[in-house]
Symmetry: D2
Subunit: 474 residues, 4 copies
């Protein structure tokens, strides 16, 4: 995936908008989406095999619709809509924009064809670049704020392109591969799971620093954390298999009530994409069926399964605040301090005591992702999570699997969604879903950050979702 430094202009004025850098960034992100589709046949762009997984064609068009709707229609005088019927067809869920084609029916549309969708993309791109190439007096702070959201929006859909292709291919008895040329990750052994202790206390959480974030990562606010323990690495396939073999999917005492109902309703007996063939476990991947590698992180499990596993081992999931605190500490500590020194009010040099309340300010902005320690973000190129590195933990925080937390997806204190239709981007989903953290092996690298809050319903499994254990001090 192409990685460009994000333009850091933070939209406070309309002057000096650094348009050429933004244009370059726009081009790069747009190109990434199309590169992801290169291995697809035309037929592959069309299908939708479940409500949750949209067709590739729809993703490509919808992200273009986003720029057209929120930027070109509003800021480019005289802009002529490519096709006014697309306003409804490629609206995902913005009630304030108007009607939208129903989500479960996205796979019912053979037209516009793939070719036509690419022409639509080209049309949008030409006008977007024309806009960015013309430095006349405009409300640039508004435009660029929307542009940046649009680019991150497109990156979200780049991830969805891959998760949805995997989902849509997986039900085909032919088990087609998205890419047969994907390298096989190195096999284990996995390092031993170690428990890292954090002192907790008053900490600040939520996004800070000049970089981009979504509205749901704000405002940064203070929380009180009890002391907690945090696993050094993710739970592996082999460890999860032990849970299965111990009857985990048959023992209701381990499950949340709603989770047990799902197990029974859907006959769950293993993670999604696991198949038992000839007495052995295989896993459907973007490279096709592969024999299950016991040391790789377990993946494609729902929140319910993560909870049940944690119950079985007598531990629990971390809260999103614990996760963020541990992740920031991992990134911000100037030295690799090891297990004993994680967090805590008397702890790491990166944290300053607040004389009034003893709060620690993790004010230091995380370093650029490329500089993150511990082998994080190594996964590009495998399109699956890989065995943990043998480094001091916590490892595998970023870019392996989305890590289940025990936190419901709710507004931060003081949260206010944006005005208008863009306010529907995140806020209206703050009900019934759970927070996942860390980014997965199919998340664009520069789309990952410690404060990022992903959210899914507790029964969903089609994302690259895995599990890190947490616990209370003994």
């Amino acid at each position: 995936m192409t990685r460009l430094p994000s333009p850091r202009h933070r939209f406070e004025t309309d002057e000096d908008p650094a348009l050429p850098a933004w244009a370059a960034r726009y081009r790069a992100v747009r190109l990434d989406s199309e590169r992801l589709c290169l291995p697809l046949c035309i037929e592959d762009f069309v299908i939708q095999t479940t409500d949750e997984a949209s067709p590739a064609k729809w993703h490509l068009a919808h992200v273009s619709w986003f720029f057209e709707t929120f930027i070109l229609n509003e800021y480019l005088p005289g802009y002529a809509c490519y096709d006014k019927r697309y306003r409804m067809l490629f609206n995902s869920y913005y009630e304030q924009i108007g009607e939208f084609h129903p989500r479960p029916a996205r796979g019912f549309l053979s037209r516009p064809t793939v070719d036509e969708v690419y022409r639509y993309r080209t049309h949008v791109d030409q006008h977007m670049l024309a806009l960015l190439d013309d430095p006349r007096d405009r409300p640039w702070h508004e435009i660029l704020e929307r542009l940046e959201i649009g680019l991150h929006h497109e990156q979200q859909h780049q991830e969805l392109l891959l998760t949805d292709i995997k989902r849509n291919f997986s039900v085909n008895p032919l088990r087609p591969a998205y890419r047969v040329d994907l390298p096989t990750p190195p096999v284990g052994p996995r390092p031993a799971l170690e428990w890292l202790d954090y002192e907790g206390g008053l900490v600040d959480t939520g996004h800070h620093g000049p970089g981009f974030c979504f509205d749901n990562e704000l405002p940064r606010h203070r929380v009180f954390l009890n002391p907690f323990r945090f696993a050094s690495r993710l739970v592996t396939n082999g460890e999860y298999l032990a849970f299965m073999e111990a009857g985990g999917y048959r023992n209701p005492a381990l499950w949340l009530s709603d989770g047990w109902a799902q197990v029974q309703k859907h006959g769950w007996r293993s993670p999604l994409y696991w198949e038992r063939i000839g007495g052995e476990w295989w896993q459907y991947t973007l490279a096709g069926l592969r024999r299950l590698a016991p040391d790789e992180p377990v993946c494609h499990i729902s929140h319910y399964e993560a909870e049940a596993y944690a119950s079985w081992v007598g531990r629990r999931l971390p809260t999103e605040d614990e996760w963020e605190h541990a992740a920031c500490a991992s990134l911000c500590s100037p030295t690799d301090e090891g297990v004993a020194d994680h967090g805590g009010s008397g702890g790491a040099g990166a944290e300053r005591g607040d004389t009034d309340l003893g709060v620690r300010h993790d004010d230091e902005e995380p370093p650029p992702a490329a500089a993150w320690p511990n082998g994080n973000l190594r996964n590009s190129g495998y399109l699956q999570p890989v065995v943990a590195p043998a480094a001091a933990g916590p490892v595998q925080l970023f870019g392996d699997v989305w890590e289940h937390t025990r936190s419901a997806y709710l507004p931060y204190p003081g949260f206010r969604p944006a005005a208008g239709a863009l306010g529907e981007y995140n806020g209206k989903f703050m009900s019934g879903q759970m927070v996942l953290r860390g980014g997965s092996c199919v998340t664009p690298d520069d789309h990952i950050r410690p404060s990022y809050r992903n959210f899914f319903y507790p029964h969903e499994r089609w994302q690259f979702q895995g599990l890190r254990l947490a616990g209370d001090p003994d």
Copy 2:
């Protein structure tokens, strides 16, 4: 659509199998299927928007699977399956062949691609033609019997290709046309509806003569018909609109109980494909949206709607025996006798009294379809039903719309399905469905015959289904 004389060898011996004629027929039918797909984009081959309407790609593959499964695998020694996974993938519903991919999931398959499906067709064609080109000693009567079924089977799917494309396109808000080049049929006026009287009595019904028929058209058997009246032409859009405007869809007293439940459940307010746009009625056709033509036959109505309309006008639907009797009389009478002379034991010269029981034998085989009177089968080229000709009735019997009857689809007395998996072709569906007669404007011409029994559930509307009234003598 290419029309070839059907080879008339009726499989009584394995000698002189007229293989070249069969090979020519095979080529012609197979080519017809592919011609029907010429206007499609690749994406159009993939989608399935409702359980009832399969993807075009699936139809093309399934009809090939039929030849492979029932002929090549059994009669061509050493035949190598194109892909053994297709045995399940393209099995429609033959339990005795083994598992089949679930019908509602046919649109979930992007692979095999359209290109691959065509390669599969070519592979099957090459081996079929090789078989037919080699007159060595084989059980030709079995092979050709299956071949003939296979060709009629493919013709059924040619019709379904069109009805399913229409259905799948219709839910797309862009309302794409299958063919924009279709001619607009001439407008009315429709002739007045006349009532033709039939005396009934003992008649024989069911297929007879040397031509092909499906097992469900046999055995020919005797039935007793009461005197009945038969409408000279189909009910028109304009007549049906009067029913709608009189509150037909809001008056439960007109409906069968199950029909009224459908009206309420689905919010039916008009036939399928009718749309109210700007105060006027339009109709979605294979040529796209067209303004409703009041004199054309009403189409795409369910059995329930046909029943309700008939109740509203104080008439009823014909039984399938009445329909077949009237249709045969129309074809077999040596002269155009007009209304007064239809049927009846004292009637037309084509009917001989049976001294014992007074039964009439309509033994004369119907003439070739091309010779049928009254403008029947004029519709090729419009792909929609057209205004009735001003000829002496009954008109529009063949090739306009499938005509609803009040007969449930049940076995004829003495019916026996074939042995083995081919016995599942028709017999196992003899429950819950109603018989329709006559063939539609998208039925291949040489696939239509008076004894043909089509069958659909009483709520289904996606076929070209219309309505002719019948009644009892005053």
Copy 3:
């Protein structure tokens, strides 16, 4: 069950209406309903455990509503409705009367209480009897026609009271008995199944004679029957068990397509009410759980199961015309002629040749039920079907189980439903259901007649439904 001679006045004039006999008949039928409820606790009157089985309380009220709505409201001047809200509450399905409480919600009503429902019955009875006690000038032919329908209607609900109590009790893990005092029927052995041959030909079918019938049994009309064979007795539990043990419920080749779908959807493995306990088969009955008696008729099977069983033994179900023909012949023949003489145009003395068409007129009205031969109608008192008597067949025609036929429930030629709301009684259900004949062990004896057409959906099993085989001549 009390049996009174039905008043035979056939409503041709308003004079001499025989009111005292009608009043006596009314009292007797009304009392029968209440007698059936004597074994019930108050709680038992309330429950509804499936859409198809209404609460006892609802039955008691609805049959009273019928008299109130169709007689008292229209013919008794100044009649004051007991509670005007009951018009909606106890309307079953008469759209022309107005709204009705939804069928699946009949068990949601704790009020009116059982006591209140009995008061409602008393109110209606007092007014009905006052009406019948006052021979002033009224449209008696209309009133008595409706009264007679109302009495037969109440008898239908007497049967439903029992079938619904059985159904509603059966899902209670305590398996309560409706009556613990029911005698155990004598055990076998069953007589051997013999095949009785009928010549068929032109016969008249449908109700005839002065007795009551529903509109769907009319008009009497002529049909042509092919020669057929008819089993001398019903299929037994033991015979059906052999089908089960031979894998009948696992072999799709035996089933209608819709039937196989039901088997899979509901996991059918045996008739309704059969339970496997400790390695043995038991059957839930109105007397509670009883060990399965192999020589008793199989009961509580759907049309689909009856069809599958018949396929398995290589036979078929009779048509309703065949059944009625055989049943009438059984009743009308002056002597017990044995197998060889059943039916046939050259046959029994009860049948006269029609010189024109050879039609046989079974014009002799069946004798009173009490005089029917062959042990029919012996079952009162067991409330379950019992072992066939060792008489010359056909036996078990009446009052054992409703016998499945292969005939769809459709209008007879020339059928016209009554005008107004009473026209909804039967006609609007002529879609999707199958005809059953003969009456069951819980049908009131004087409610059974050869021309009676009962109808249920092919998946329904909660009535006392069983199976007699038929076939074509070898």
Copy 4:
């Protein structure tokens, strides 16, 4: 409702178990349940009109099952089960006890009859009182801990008895009243809504003190609260009506995405139990239909509706921690300090600064409910929420309606469910539900406490659920 001082022995030893006081308490609580059922007819005990609302009969039996299962079976040697089939029949959801009768089928059981259920209660009572009357050496700390849970469990079901009767009666077109003798509450005017400011900071939350609580109220733990505003009283019917009249139910911009889906799916247009009759709004209550009183608190709204209303007025729901903090402050402050002094680290005398972290310890146990200020708990006797008193706020905290919060129902930090089946009481439901606080007008008075966490799915409305606004400082 009888109110007895709860025995305060906290189970630390097995000595001095104060058995007579416990026996008295047991008798009182058991009697309360039966008193609640006095107005019911036998039929009313049986019905279940929706999965969520169990039959009264089931409640009466299930609470007895609880004592039998968790106490008598385990601690009374030689105890003979009343009916061993009840173990399954009246198990609600304890997987570790074994199977349970499915919840949606509780209304399918006419047996055991009401009379039998009362005999079951008597049997359990006799043995429970025998146990408590015999002070021999037993593990009293275990027994009494379970006894206390069992009594609170029965109190929960006393509330459910009323909410479920209301729900089950409400669908009856006769709209029966549970009690026609209920007094009509005094009408308004409501006091003006005032905003009370809280400083927040570090506070402790969760149950403390020696009184009873459920496991989900523990452990008491520290949280950080941002400053917040809290409405002095509940939102009224009149205020909610303004939201409705402003199109609240038609404007998706106000709703959570899942909430809007519910509005459309169920056609919500008002709170549950509101009816529009003759141009006016009525409300179904336990006394039958009453005209809507605009100054009474709005009730029977889902979480989604509460959220939408709050959005419409530009406010939000309180978190459960904010609510508990305000409620405790209201009870614990020695004087009525008014709006300005609520909470805050520099605030009320009841709060001591923690030198390290500035945490406030609300360590003072709340006073007995009977002593609570501000007219709380005045509602007994109306069985509906009533107009707010004109006292200094916050008022209506306890015993009016369950107040929606924006907090998901999740485990407190360090939460551990009890071992064994009793651990299923609360913990396994910590998924997908939201916390409600405060108790309603049908909650037993001595079952209400500030730390009580009730939980329902966000679409549920059949409890007495209402709404208090909160907000962030301006």
